[in-house]
Amino acid sequence: MKGMSIIVKKVSQLMAGLIFMYGIYIILHGHLTPGGGFAGGAIIAGAFILLILAFGSNALNLKKEIAGSSNTESLAVLMVVVLALMALLFGSKTFFFNYLPKGEPGALLSAGVIPLYNIFIGIEVAGAILTIFLALVIFKEESSK
């Protein structure tokens, strides 16, 4: 896949970092403001997709990237299950129990394990969307050869 013009490259280079940071903000403030793991993860995947579409890439680099993204999302979904299983060790013995201290509602460090779930769901969603996109791009690259 070849890249786009220099204007698109420069603008996407400037914007991608800001989009990435906005996604992290949405994930970290998921328990305070609208948004959360799903929205933030999709925004982070959008930053990567913007860069890949603007700069273009060859199949070899994309294959390295898809290995990384699929490993990341597998680990993230495993971490969600591990966090849920840890509730069986602490507190009342129920799956998905909120065992960390709740804190003061409205503070950044509050709501127990909910921010941790948000972070790992965000990584999982970003990795999954990026993996699907990369699989499509690699398929097209290889079939056009």
């Binding site: 949405i26 998921g30 328990h31 305070l32 403001t33 609208p34 948004g35 959360g36 799903f38 929205a39 999709a42 925004i43 995947a45 959008g46 997709i49 579409l53 898809i66 699929s70 999302e73 597998s74 979904v77 969600v80 299950v81 849920a84 799956f95 998905f96 909120n98 709740k102 804190g103 509602p105 409205g106 509050s110 709501a111 127990g112 394990v113 909910i114 779930y117 948000n118 769901i121 999982e124 969603v125 990795g127 999954a128 969307i129 993996t131 699907i132 996109f133 699989a135 499509l136 690699i138 398929f139 097209k140 290889e142 079939s143």
Partner: protein, 175 residues
């Protein structure tokens, strides 16, 4: 507010019908964008910013991918062939549409008006959620505490989708 939502819904229906009948596939994709972004405005008007954020991001990503696909392959719509099999399919589609429309008419008789739902189960969530979960954002509190199994299911669905895409979309399989 109902009038605004009705106007936006009208635009969305026009966009969807245009997308079906457009000769140029690129304009069909753009017309599908009207549907998605109209839905974003509807979510904002119905006070669901969580859904609006997800919808606007997913709509943008799918629109970009669809535009890339259309520019890469073909821009012409295929002419549908008209034979006996397609006649049967059309009649079946009309019958199913009539049946669904009949049940839709039955359903709106018994439904509450928009935004006036009787809060049965939701009452439990709305009243005590902040004390029970500690999360100020009620949606996140419901998603990750009361309904955490649903969230795990959604995450596993995305994981399975990525797994299926990487498994199926390859030119040569591993021996």
């Amino acid at each position: 507010m109902e009038l605004t939502i009705s106007i936006i819904l009208g635009f969305m229906i026009i966009g969807a019908i245009y997308a079906l009948h457009a000769k140029d596939l690129l304009s069909a994709v753009i017309a599908m964008g009207i549907v998605g972004y109209g839905l974003v405005i509807c979510f904002l008007l119905l006070r669901a910013p969580d859904l609006a954020i997800v919808q606007i991001v997913v709509e943008t990503i799918t629109l970009v991918i669809m535009v890339a696909v259309v520019l890469d392959s073909t821009r012409k719509e295929l002419e549908p062939a008209f034979d006996r099999k397609s006649l049967f399919n059309r009649i079946a589609a009309y019958v199913i549409f009539a049946g669904l429309f009949y049940f839709f008419l039955l359903a709106i008789e018994t439904q509450d008006p928009l935004g006036m739902h009787s809060l049965g189960m939701a009452d439990r969530y709305v009243t005590g959620a902040v004390e029970q979960t500690g999360s100020v954002n009620l949606v996140t509190g419901v998603l990750f505490d009361f309904r955490a199994y649903d969230t795990l299911g959604e995450a596993v669905i995305l994981y399975t989708a990525a797994l299926g895409a990487t498994t199926l979309l390859r030119m040569k399989g591993k021996k």
